[in-house]
Symmetry: C2
Subunit: 224 residues, 2 copies
């Protein structure tokens, strides 16, 4: 049975990937990256609560501190001087929250750990709708990354899987319900850390997904 690593930010997309991985693999590892985003602590809490929900022991969980990304800067998620904007619709531009090439750093680390623990599948909750204009959330990017893994690793059989990449948020909610994932433990907001703000890009997409699926979002939102 192949071992799998799931990149679990604590958001709904990565949580649904956990649901998929649990269905397909017996031994699963959870990887969480704290890359200095403003809601790090809240995301870490979501990660830990989800790990507990699925009975994943400490040996199978890893949290890596990537706060050094702040040294590089260039994004509203890591640079306190750039304010996180409220939702601006499905703009085709690159959002401020873009950390240049961040996914490549994260995926490289995940592949590194996969080699060490002998995992051959890597689940990541990248989603095209979630990230319009993020160059490193497109299917062609993941295809290029899988090619890089073939060239750059000892074990030639590690593969990145992106089970929700082409799904609408509504479909992600539906898939999560099918896998009985604990949506109440997930966290998506980019802005606040106690109650979700309900207005940032990430909250807006999440709320629309639940609304279109006709299912209430079980987390609390800040009352305006």
């Amino acid at each position: 049975m192949e071992k799998a690593i799931v990149l679990l930010s604590g958001g709904m997309d990565s949580l649904v990937c956990v649901g998929e991985a649990v269905k397909n693999h017996q031994e699963i590892f959870f990887l969480h990256l704290n890359y200095g985003q403003k809601t790090s602590e809240r995301e870490r809490q979501a990660f830990e609560e989800i790990a507990r929900f699925y009975n994943i022991d400490n040996h199978h969980c890893k949290i890596i501190d990537m706060t050094f990304l702040r040294q590089i800067g260039g994004s509203s998620l890591t640079d306190d001087r750039i304010e996180v904007k409220t939702f601006q619709g499905d703009s085709k531009g690159i959002p401020d929250s873009y950390v240049p090439f961040r996914n490549s750093i994260i995926l490289s680390l995940a592949v590194s750990w996969a080699e060490v623990v002998g995992a051959t599948k890597l689940y990541i909750g990248a989603n095209d709708e979630d990230s319009p204009g993020y160059p490193d959330c497109r299917p062609s990017y993941y295809k290029a990354f899988n090619q890089l893994i073939k060239e750059g690793t000892k074990a030639l059989n590690i593969e990145i899987l992106t089970p929700v990449i082409s799904l609408k948020k509504k479909e992600i909610v539906e898939k999560g319900i099918e896998h009985k994932v604990p949506f109440h433990l997930s966290w998506s907001c980019y802005k606040n850390s106690k109650e979700a703000c309900g207005v940032c890009d990430s909250c807006s997409l999440r709320l629309r997904g639940f609304r279109e699926a006709g299912i209430p979002d079980p987390i609390d939102y800040h009352k305006v």
Copy 2:
């Protein structure tokens, strides 16, 4: 005039890349990664002395702490429980000093910084002879990485250059002499941090390169 970043470990291969970059670009940035290897401090010293030699100011130098790689482990360079072996000839196997997929993590960070500062060329001193069996030191690996950059960045014109990848150590020494690089400031040893050990893989290849080029290596070696 295009800006360039040079990944400068402090070793002779990356130093010769600096020589190349200085010839081709007016504005140059130096990037150094401390990834928790045993000789980190000594390599950092070499980096700083080389930066001073070329009058690179602080704004153009960055040192990123990647000691989190120790959390992943799996290599004799980062894991104190694995002893660094003395040179075993040009073995075709993967050396113990291999950090899984490490170059992908480093290159991803460098591309991230390149986007932020607007650099379009990235020099790295990867060398095939230096790293027989390292999967991520082969030309095909860099070709795949350049493809990944095209897919995963906003600016589509960042390119990794590997000017010494196919050179023998002898030829690297000769190219360094041609560029008048300060070999006396470089550091290659994997094992010690005061005087180079002279027997680890890295020292052995370096010494052979200078010997074959008929030029004395200007650094001190431990007297056995």
